[in-house]
Amino acid sequence: MSTTIASAPARPPRSLILWAGLILVGLHVATGLLSLVWLPYEPTGMVGMRLEGPSLVHWIGTDRLGRDLFTQLMIGSRIALVVGIGAVAIGAAIGVTLGILAAFASKWLDDALAATLDILIAFPTLLIAMLVVAASDTASLWSAIVALGIALSAIVARLTRILAKRVLVMDYITAARTSGSSWPKIVAIHILPNIWPTLSVNFALQFGLAVIAEASLSYLGLGAPPPNASWGRMLQEAQGTVYTAPLGAIAPGLALVSLAIGVNLLADGLRDSIDPTRRAR
């Protein structure tokens, strides 16, 4: 529609973005699933020498303990998916509930919730996660996931609230209300289906956010404890040997970046397929 004014933005085809995202994410999903049934080596097995370089036996070499890096990388895909999905699920459960509550609540409660969310949203995911991890007694992969989920929930809640409020003023909601539909019914039938497309795009973006934040948590020493071969943990452990065995840091880094780009592309592609008139952002 803007083609008549600005020099025609001949953008790459939408489907290309979607496909690129699908392929990248699909690759990691496949690897993660494969890691459940087959791995080149036992994950904790000290099968090689210290810091071996890439070879036919160990495709991307070994770590300090002589464990196969490719095996860990595969498990890393699975852990990244678990972290991403887990964190988004927790964030969604808390966030959507809070957001809808706020949208339905009395004006004062809504104002208070909105103001709180405004504060929380400015706190980086990482910082909130740091505090939650500190508050949990023993560190585990799950404490990291819960921490990330809680951190993400503010963003979800805020978005849900805005979207729900927009739907709430529609005529058919007023009609449903006057006809005596209960609130849970209104939420289930009218609101959730309406806001779902936008929310799901947002979830994909947050999935990427969670995976990157897990790596940062691990870098700060607050992430998934050993023996979880999360990419963040691999990066952290390879830090000291980055000059002598750079592949140990490069490989998990690339894996992380490819998954994050994958979900971002997927989100962009999904948004376009939901709303073809909108441009990719």
Binding site: L65, P226, P227, E237, Q239, Y243, A245
Partner: protein, 495 residues
């Protein structure tokens, strides 16, 4: 009562290479020496939980003690002119050096020393030497230069233990954020989280420092510290933490790499109070299931030393005990079966969150899986370690690096965190302390050493290497860093 002067114990370290002494080049007497370290003190008071970093920065530099543990391992008089012990070894009379002043300008008196010792033994003191000095029953100051200490039992290590006691001006107020010592440097500035500067004290009673200023710069990770030396942002790294970073320095003429004598031991400590670790066969089985040579190679490449007990080769009571419970998976399994754990067992390993402990924990997890023992790794912060393990003893097993010299004596304390309680060892260590001669002390401690090894009281994984790296134009620094000390006053920098 007859008295005799005791000769100072001089345990010289053998085979220690000192960095090539002074170049032909002239050094700059006012140079700034920048020391890179990973151990920032939490505060400036070594009796208030300041951490090992405060010893590195302040021992011998800002504060002095009656005696000094030199980098070569001998105990020499510092603020003491002479001293005498009574025949029964229960009364010590110290004469202080004359003309010593604090940085504030006040003269040193015996009252200051009395105050300083009482600071360490006070109830709220967090000093690790509190217990060692508990035999002191009275301190008197007949005059300004004389101090008389009475003991409840003989203590052959009294001079050694007093080397930990900073002499602080008794009029000084805020010791946690300021200082008033007698050392060759005074504190110039401290920026928390970043650096601490010492400047040469002009009124120093002894030989003035060979440099004008020392800046300790603190880093939170070893890679950043290496980068700082590589890019000439610091002159010296006090202790290198991985062999991989050495690759950048060794063979490069711009740097000097020196391997000193280490006293830092990586220890898998069991809580010997709880099952199954109260069973000596279980402890021996775990020791035999640990391929320590492989572990040392994983962590340190070609550096470091294997030890068979808690004693480093530089202690006089060292004996090679690496043959006791040597690596042998089959006999480990047999021992476990004998102990009634044929199907193995499961335990939680509390692992401090900093290098190398998490990687060591993963190694042990993989090793012990081979004999059916399941290790659950629980990562904790250094602070949690202190509360949960050191104070509350609420653990099954833990990893820790023990940095101190002569710390076999901890096995003589049944109340120590690991709860090892063998009356024979307790007696030997007490007897060693009450010994009339050094030969007797060495004999008793050597016996104790053999027993703890036979009991597999702990699993002594390896001895860290002690490696100092410096820019080539810097010389005269300590290479052993005993008890984390780092005397800076002889460091010379050629310009």
């Amino acid at each position: 009562m007859t008295t005799k002067t005791i000769l100072l114990a001089a345990t010289l370290l053998a085979g220690v290479a000192l960095p090539a002494a002074a170049f032909a080049q002239d050094f700059n007497p006012d140079a700034t020496i920048r020391i890179g370290s990973l151990y920032e003190p939490q505060n400036l008071d070594n009796t208030a939980g300041a951490g090992q970093g405060i010893n590195e920065a302040f021992n011998g530099n800002v504060y002095e003690a009656l005696f000094q543990l030199t980098d070569a391992g001998s105990v020499e008089p510092k603020l003491v002119e002479s001293y005498e012990a009574s025949e029964d070894g229960l009364t010590y009379t110290f004469t202080l050096k004359a003309g010593v002043t604090f940085h504030s300008g006040e003269p040193l008196t015996a009252a200051d020393v009395k105050y300083s010792i009482e600071r360490v033994t006070a109830e709220q003191s967090k000093s690790s030497r509190k217990r060692s000095l508990s035999t002191i029953t009275g301190i008197e100051t007949p005059d300004d230069r004389t101090l008389v200490i009475t003991l409840s039992a003989r203590s052959i290590s009294l001079p050694y233990n007093l080397s930990y006691v900073w002499v602080v001006n008794d009029a000084a107020t805020d010791i946690t954020a300021a200082e008033d010592g007698t050392g060759p440097y005074s504190l110039a500035e401290w920026r928390r989280g970043s650096a601490l500067a010492l400047e040469r004290f002009d009124g120093y009673w002894g030989e003035p420092a060979s440099n004008g200023e020392v800046i300790y710069t603190y880093f939170t990770d070893a890679t950043a510290l290496n980068n700082a030396l590589l890019t000439n942002a610091v002159d010296i790294i006090t202790s290198v933490q991985s062999p991989d970073s050495l690759a950048q320095f060794s063979g490069n003429p711009a740097f000097t790499v020196t391997e000193g004598a280490s006293t830092t031991k990586e220890l898998l400590a069991y809580n010997d109070r709880v099952a199954p670790f109260d069973n000596v066969q279980v402890r021996k089985a775990l020791a035999r299931a640990t391929d320590k040579a492989r572990l040392l190679n994983s962590i340190w490449g070609d550096y470091g030393t294997l030890i068979g007990s808690f004693v480093p080769p530089t202690d006089p009571w060292y004996v090679d005990l690496t043959g006791v419970d040597a690596y042998d998976v089959d006999s480990a399994k047999a021992l476990l079966a004998e102990a009634g754990y044929a199907d193995g067992f499961e335990f939680t390993l509390d692992t401090p969150d900093y290098d190398p402990h998490p990687i060591v924990a993963q190694f042990l997890q993989a090793e012990y899986a081979k004999i059916g023992v399941t290790v659950n790794i629980n990562v904790i912060t250094a602070n949690e370690w202190y509360t949960k393990i050191y104070q509350e003893r609420n653990f099954e097993a833990t990893l820790q690096e023990h940095v101190n010299h002569r710390d076999i004596v901890f096995y003589g304390n049944p109340d120590f965190y690991w709860g090892y309680n063998n009356p024979e060892v307790v007696k030997l260590i007490a007897d060693a302390e009450a010994a009339g001669s050094e030969a007797e002390q060495v004999e008793k401690l050597t016996q104790a050493n053999r027993i703890i090894a036979d009991d597999a009281a702990g699993n002594w994984l390896y001895l860290y290497p002690q490696i100092v790296v410096s820019a080539a134009n810097v010389t005269g620094y300590p290479v052993n860093g005993l008890n984390s000390q780092f005397f800076a006053y002889d460091i010379e920098k050629a310009e």
